[in-house]
Symmetry: C2
Subunit: 339 residues, 2 copies
Amino acid sequence: MNGKSNRCWLLVNRPISEPSEEDFAINEAPIPDIRENQFLVKIIYLSVDPYMRGRMRDGVSYAPPAVLGEVMVGGAVGQIIKSNNNSYSEGKIVQGNFGWQEYALSDGIGVNIVDPSVAPISTSLGVLGMPGLTAYFGLLEVGCPVLGETIVVSAAAGAVGAVVGQIAKIKGCDVVGIAGGAEKCRYLEEELGFDYTIDYKSQPDISNALNAACPRGIDIYFDNVGGAILDEVLNHINIGARIPICGMISEYNLSQPQLVPRPTRALLVNRAKMQGLLVWDWVERRQEGIEQMAQWIKEGKLYYKEDIIEGIEKVPEAFLKLFKGQNFGKQIIKVGDLQ
Amino acid sequence: MNGKSNRCWLLVNRPISEPSEEDFAINEAPIPDIRENQFLVKIIYLSVDPYMRGRMRDGVSYAPPAVLGEVMVGGAVGQIIKSNNNSYSEGKIVQGNFGWQEYALSDGIGVNIVDPSVAPISTSLGVLGMPGLTAYFGLLEVGCPVLGETIVVSAAAGAVGAVVGQIAKIKGCDVVGIAGGAEKCRYLEEELGFDYTIDYKSQPDISNALNAACPRGIDIYFDNVGGAILDEVLNHINIGARIPICGMISEYNLSQPQLVPRPTRALLVNRAKMQGLLVWDWVERRQEGIEQMAQWIKEGKLYYKEDIIEGIEKVPEAFLKLFKGQNFGKQIIKVGDLQ
């Protein structure tokens, strides 16, 4: 780390399909001064998440796109090292959308104070942060799990999926995880208590695999990947099934959408629900979610895994791993140390 | 009507695409005798509904298919003329799935007694029957209309759509109806109080039409038709939109499904819900729905239109009109008279 300058990653190109390291450029600038009401955060951990692929695209979505030539957007956690804001005093740990950089100015908007006594502060980017809360509220409020039901979750070893599966176990569901590779599947079954896993990379026939995994059909499909797996799941849902749509990482890099039959017949025949979700919609219940999950962690009911690499120069590389399923656990980049 | 025999329509062929009159054959058989616990119904009105196209298909759906060579399935209302069942006495008016015929035997399962003092008994097949209850529960329980929201309903002059639009008006929504032809659109606006209509037959650009009709976007799309209109509506929905999937008449006669982009991105970005519905799921609240709608009819808040043709020989013809949008109001066939 260089204490005298602020290294950051700029978005310099909007990819049409697969993103690459050339879409980003590293830059070095002076550490900015704080003005009235502002504070300066020294970033400790940066997060990379699949949703950022959407921010690289110009166009209407639920958030404005990242700006070409400016710091790439992203969540991070760090320590306040200078402050003109009474609510955010020096030394505090804070989490916010600070971007891909070593130092960030903030006025506190969208910033949460992190209690480091609850869990390692990196968890504010994972199990106790955006992905964990997405799993918590998405599963409980959209998926509505009921004791004894069968739930399938895709990207099951990912930051959201692993939490979805474990909360579904806590709620008494039969949990089937879809993940890529034997190591991830073994981890889900042996360490997280999933009832069954499907390794989509070695399983050519997802339909057969779903039949074997879900003899009583699928009541909830928590979808993180979209694509052909979603299409096939629709052939296996039960009456009254719920399909929370959380992400579609298999489609994010497509330059043209895939063309498939509409899912509406399966929804109609089964009186099933497909519903998009975004963690922002439960922002007022954030504390409830964090407290409940911290409690489950303490009780040994909820485990988490982080894939932490070091060095701000590795942020694009870490981001690109997500689209190849090469991360194992929540992907985080350590870019600084606590003072 | 021939009092001594029972004329009925048999399903004799399962069409691949468009159904035709040749898929049905008229048959004449003796009027059956009642056995223990049974009663004999003389049918007064038969109903034809789009869902029957699904019953002509062999395969898994929410109900078993009609059987080749047997009486075609369908709802009807009639009068009990002989009874061995104390709960269903002679003279009573009853509605049930009696099939396309003049006389039906029943043991009472799935049969509802109709109170002829509430409204003409034909309404038990329309506004106070399956289509009306579908509209009532589908809109209120899946659509969840809120004062001031914008709702779009397709097949708006149909048996379900016209009720959906009027209940949405009662709930204080801005109501946009999509229907085929100037006469239906005029009826919806001038007689039923719809705020805006789109004549899809004369409107080549549905996207422009939706922009004009829904300047504040679409909060609810009550879908009776599926197809390209559904695809386009997804480009106009608001955050938190609800899309009750009630029917897809534009797709029922396709031998191969159309291939389109998945709707999931629109659902995700807008945290929107798409949910299939079937009136059976509210069977225990049937009386509530009928009483409320009868009350609205009495208060002049809910109008209905019936398209009644006479003669059992015309049932297939009346059924086929539905797929060309040639019916205007609930399509009913009068096949007999009260005793």
